[in-house]
Symmetry: C2
Subunit: 351 residues, 2 copies
């Protein structure tokens, strides 16, 4: 297969972890006779510095022309505590999601046998967890009108959804549930929010098209509790953008490390693959970040190209590295900590 | 002391747990020579059924005239899955918060020595946790404009804050931090939301008035993760209404049971005390609910009347009941499960 992949390293540890995913993907390509051409492009603070824009048109063109996008991380602390900053790296991320039509973020949550005891949660609570959160990614309060009034003394953001936006996300949820245990949980705050009531009403109306799927409706506050109490109670969760942002990060605790969790963003055009962790600026440039979430994101990418064996080969080598203790600082626990680049080399060699 | 307490039992298990808090409070009054007069009033689904309104004017008058309000729970499932319901029990709760000016919800999170192993989190992660979440309660998306457009096919909710609303909540947070470890964490989503940027900007400007307090600013998604990863890292957390709703429920997992966590809502007028759990309709009328969260809410009430010894006596007897296994179904783990009313009787007798 010939693959043309856009490579958006972004900020902070982004470039370092992306490099390892490229090494591993190239090793896969070699072994399975594929041809991958990588096209790098700028995003985030890096793009602001270079061209004054966090998601430049040239980058968008590269993404549109590609078969898929592999993405690192975005964000830089110099913007976080400056409420007056006019251009922010995150705007690039949001613009990218919107312009590429990436309306669904797929975040699997699972445990790694060799790491299960690293989770803050007890083994018996999490062993066997296998859930997927499907987060709506191009609507809600992220994209509604926002601003100031009264000389800057009042601020507002608008959380808004259309029935069509909810339907296309929910459809993916129902379809995914059909390939799994046929359980779907719709998370909202319908006891308060009108947009949540539209979610609930829309999903309820779709139930008849998927008679085999058992749908439950739960409030976001209750789910924030149950997700850590009994994650095995969930299979496929669908939810709106902001709730999804919060719940997916929370769910990452189950696996014991954010540094391990991959994600895919899908929609109407090119798909995008990225680790769920952020740009982790404190670690940038030190060759200490955990590259596995990005490497596993590349595995999701191969899977979606229907290259299942290739995807499995990546997961296998990752599990092998964990079992053999070839791990970065965050997982080393007093043992030897490997460098980011060393882990990438090890994985590529062992493919 | 003469105390006039409004008694709002509400829905579901509300009446049952409130009964036990009354028993315990009366035992305290007897022992310490106080006089409590209880004035019951209707709220929630119970009030809708009786007078068509979840927070009737008469109830408000009772609350305003009282020295404090003791509140059970609100909510009934027959409204949850009916997106078209015109009057909802929760509206009563929101109206009550607004009309009583209860702009801050204080939710302490701590562990109980005898229950620590019931938490889904590992002992070493949570032992010694002592944090308080101060949730803004009368602003944000709960009270902004909401509605439908396009023949009902678009729904919107508005998240809005004024500088003054943020200041009064943050002031409480700074003051609370001063009486504790002088650490304050402001939780927002300032990388996306304009209202969060106003929060951050407002709290930043207040820092100079509390030079001894160390303030950190964290994003809500990161906190949703860290709160269960390392709760001991937090002391006083301040946050807006919706984030507070989610994070306080999540934090309840730390203690091992929602059935144990009390809260106080404070503001410009009468204070209100309530368990953080909901109306738990499946258990209603069965005399099986855990009354301790409500009993401990009564302890917070005594504490705020500066009756510290009385508050401590309640906490002591609760700890004693836990240590001696006088617990409800949710904590019984195969051992004897006491009835809600039996626990109330036991506590009152042992005061
Ligand atoms: C960086 C931020 C804007 C982003 C989001 O909130 O969507 C991030 O937290 C994520 O989850 O990808
Ligand atoms: C019942 C509901 C409206 C309420 C809220 O969201 O505030 C509840 O969850 C709470 O936290 O008191």
């Amino acid at each position: 297969m010939k693959l043309n992949i856009a490579l958006l390293a972004g900020d902070g540890i982004g470039p370092e972890v992306i490099d390892q995913a490229v090494k591993v993907s190239n090793a896969i390509a070699k072994k399975y006779n594929h041809e991958i051409s990588w096209t790098p492009a700028l995003t985030g603070a890096a793009a602001i510095d270079a061209v004054g824009e966090p998601y430049p048109d040239e980058t968008h063109a590269v993404c549109e022309a590609a078969d898929a996008v592999l993405f690192g991380a975005i964000g830089h602390p110099r913007f976080d505590n400056d409420p007056s900053a006019k251009v922010r790296p995150e705007q690039g991320l949001l613009k990218m999601r919107q312009k590429l039509g990436l309306f669904a973020n797929v975040r699997p949550t699972f445990t790694f046998p060799s790491l299960i005891d690293k989770s803050p949660l007890k083994r018996e609570r999490i062993e066997g967890t296998d859930l997927i959160i499907l987060r709506e990614l191009t609507g809600g309060v992220y994209f509604g009108e926002r601003g100031r009034k009264d000389n800057g003394n009042t601020a507002f953001d608008t959380m808004t959804y259309t029935r069509a936006e909810i339907q296309r996300l929910a459809k993916k949820g129902f379809e995914m549930a059909m390939t799994r245990s046929k359980k779907l949980c719709c998370v909202d705050k319908a006891n308060v929010l009108e947009s949540s009531r539209l979610w609930r009403e829309t999903v309820q109306a779709m139930e008849k098209d998927y008679p085999e799927v058992t749908v439950s409706y739960e409030f976001v506050d209750a789910v924030a509790m149950r997700l850590v109490q009994w994650p095995k109670g969930y299979d496929v969760i669908i939810t709106e953008n902001l709730f999804g942002d919060i719940l997916t990060d929370e769910a990452s605790v189950i696996s014991g490390s954010m540094g391990l969790m991959p994600s895919a963003s899908v929609g109407t055009k090119t798909r995008l693959y990225e680790p769920i962790h952020g740009s982790y600026p404190q670690a940038a440039g030190k060759d200490i970040a955990n590259p596995l979430a990005t490497v596993l994101s590349a595995a999701m990418m191969f899977e979606d190209f229907d290259l299942k064996e290739e995807a499995q080969a990546i997961r296998d080598v990752v599990n092998k590295s964990l079992a053999e203790g070839v791990v970065s600082e965050d997982l080393a626990e007093g043992g030897k900590a490997y460098k980011t680049s060393e882990i990438g080399d090890w994985l590529a060699k062992n493919i």
